[in-house]
């Protein structure tokens, strides 16, 4: 974990309100899937860094990608950063996801999909099947990137304007009966975790989720990004930034 100055190589819109940024570092250490980085915004009125999952990385070229939706003031500032500009970036943060099984189902909901490519890159030799869902055709991202890495990619849209019509959770559940994955990793909004819990309950397949929470320090000191988990010693708060962001869905209190 290090605080460093990096150079923006690329920062362009790739879908409706969604941007992709590539950042180059002088050196880059081992990155696990579902780890994140924390960017200091080039705007002194913003005192908090912005955490983003590492969408993908390239060890050889020492680059990391961030795929983000412009939703607030922070991401608006970020979208204004030009190629060639420097950014102060902290990475890699969080526990990350290291699959134990060999056949992994990846499920992404909306921008949660951005967690998935790095999981595949970090785990060569394993068989990944990606199921990604979006509101409509205009919001679809990372289909091509995942297609190049995964054994299969299935896209679903809520309104049916692209790929299969319906929620990705339903599509993935049906496919799981045929695919029989060893493990599942899900990243998306909380409502999706509730749906996943319902439809995979009793399946016996371990389901991991990558959580999101507003963060302060990003390194585990300030305790603002907590989420509630239920473990052998009872219910309690854990830090999304340090103990997570990846947790077993079974232990997360939704």
């Amino acid at each position: 974990m290090k605080d460093r100055i990096a150079t923006v190589v690329k920062n362009v819109p790739v879908a409706d309100g969604i941007w992709s940024m590539t950042i180059a570092f002088d050196d880059i250490e081992e990155i696990k899937g579902a780890q994140f980085l924390d960017i200091k915004l080039p705007d002194p009125s913003k005192v908090l860094r912005r955490p983003f999952c590492i969408c993908d990385f390239d060890k050889e070229n020492k680059t990391a990608d961030v795929c983000y939706a412009v939703v607030g003031e922070g991401t608006k500032v970020l979208s204004g950063v030009k190629a060639g500009e420097k950014l102060n970036v902290l990475l890699p943060l969080g526990n990350g996801y290291v699959p134990k099984g060999n056949k992994i189902m990846l499920i992404g909901g909306g921008m949660g999909t951005a967690v998935l490519p790095a999981v595949v890159t970090a785990n060569p030799g394993k068989e990944f099947h990606a199921f990604i869902g979006f509101a409509n055709k205009g919001k679809v991202v990372l289909e091509k990137e995942l297609g190049e890495k995964c054994a299969s990619v299935t896209v679903a849209t809520d309104d049916g304007s692209y790929g299969k019509k319906g929620f990705v959770t339903t599509v993935a559940r049906e496919a799981a009966d045929v695919l029989k994955p060893d493990e599942i990793l899900v990243c998306g909004p909380e409502v999706m975790y509730k749906a996943i819990r319902k439809c995979f309950d009793g399946s016996g397949i371990p389901v991991y989720v990558s959580l999101e929470q507003r963060m302060g320090c990003g390194i585990g000191a300030c305790l603002v990004c907590n989420c509630k988990v239920k473990r052998a010693d009872g219910e309690g708060y854990v830090r999304v930034c340090k103990d997570g962001p990846v947790f077993l869905l079974d232990e997360v209190v939704l």
């Binding site: 605080d3 005192v47 102060n88 929470q213 507003r214 302060g216 000191a221 300030c222």
Partner: protein
Amino acid sequence: MSNLKVNIAGVEFKNPIITASGTFGFGKEYGEFYPLSALGGICTKGLTLKKREGNPPPRVAETYGGMLNSVGLQNPGIEHYLAEDDKRLAKEDVVVIANIAGSTLDDYIAIGERINDSNADMVELNISCPNVKQGGMAFGVLPKNVEEVTRAVKNVCRKPVITKLSPNVSCIADNARAAEAGGADAVSLINTLSGMAVNYKTRRPVLANNNGGLSGPCVKPVALKMVWECFNAVKIPIIGLGGITKYTDVLEFMICGARAVQVGTANFTDPTAAYDIARDLEKYVEENGMDINDLVGTLILN
């Protein structure tokens, strides 16, 4: 001969930079970025007798030039601190200030007594956390309560006691006087300002707790004025905090009467902020061949 050392209540700090309670955990995470010995001191996360879960998330909201937090004193409890963190911190060449909090006067007395068994060099009395429903704020508002809780802890605690003052009061100088009357060895100020962030789309506060404590560069002018007011009210040393992000901020606080300072929110913006400020301050003092203590309270009013 330049000098960066300061002395608060008989405790020597190698420089006046201390990390503020609640922004630095127990030093473990930031210790991965730089040696804690580069700082004058560190303030621990607020400790209570029993483990506290804190408030539900979201617990943070960014605001213009600052942020609101509503952590609500989540901490593992004093016994966990004594078993897990105290010895590790004692090995570090840095002044350790244990921040303690309670909900009742009896809580403060019990934890003020228990902290004697720690290796902490000093104790900071948190009587002004705005995120705790019972106690907390109540003790920090009225001067008579500030005096009462300070005296109660001083009666049992063998370590120098710093009373941390809330800015959400009618006259902070009165509260500084009350802390001094209660036997405080020093005061630190300001704790966060009570505030709220609102989402116009949902018409709801951003924080699950609705209200939170405002910190960051936006509060600095308020803090500077309050430090100056307290400097003119008490003889005990003052530790100033509120929005410090660079070494010139430290100089301003010391000119207003602070003998040392705490760096809080800046740790979030830059994990090495406190370290960088200490190094920059050292360079400034060397270049000017000055004793940093000579700055304290030298404000010239217009």
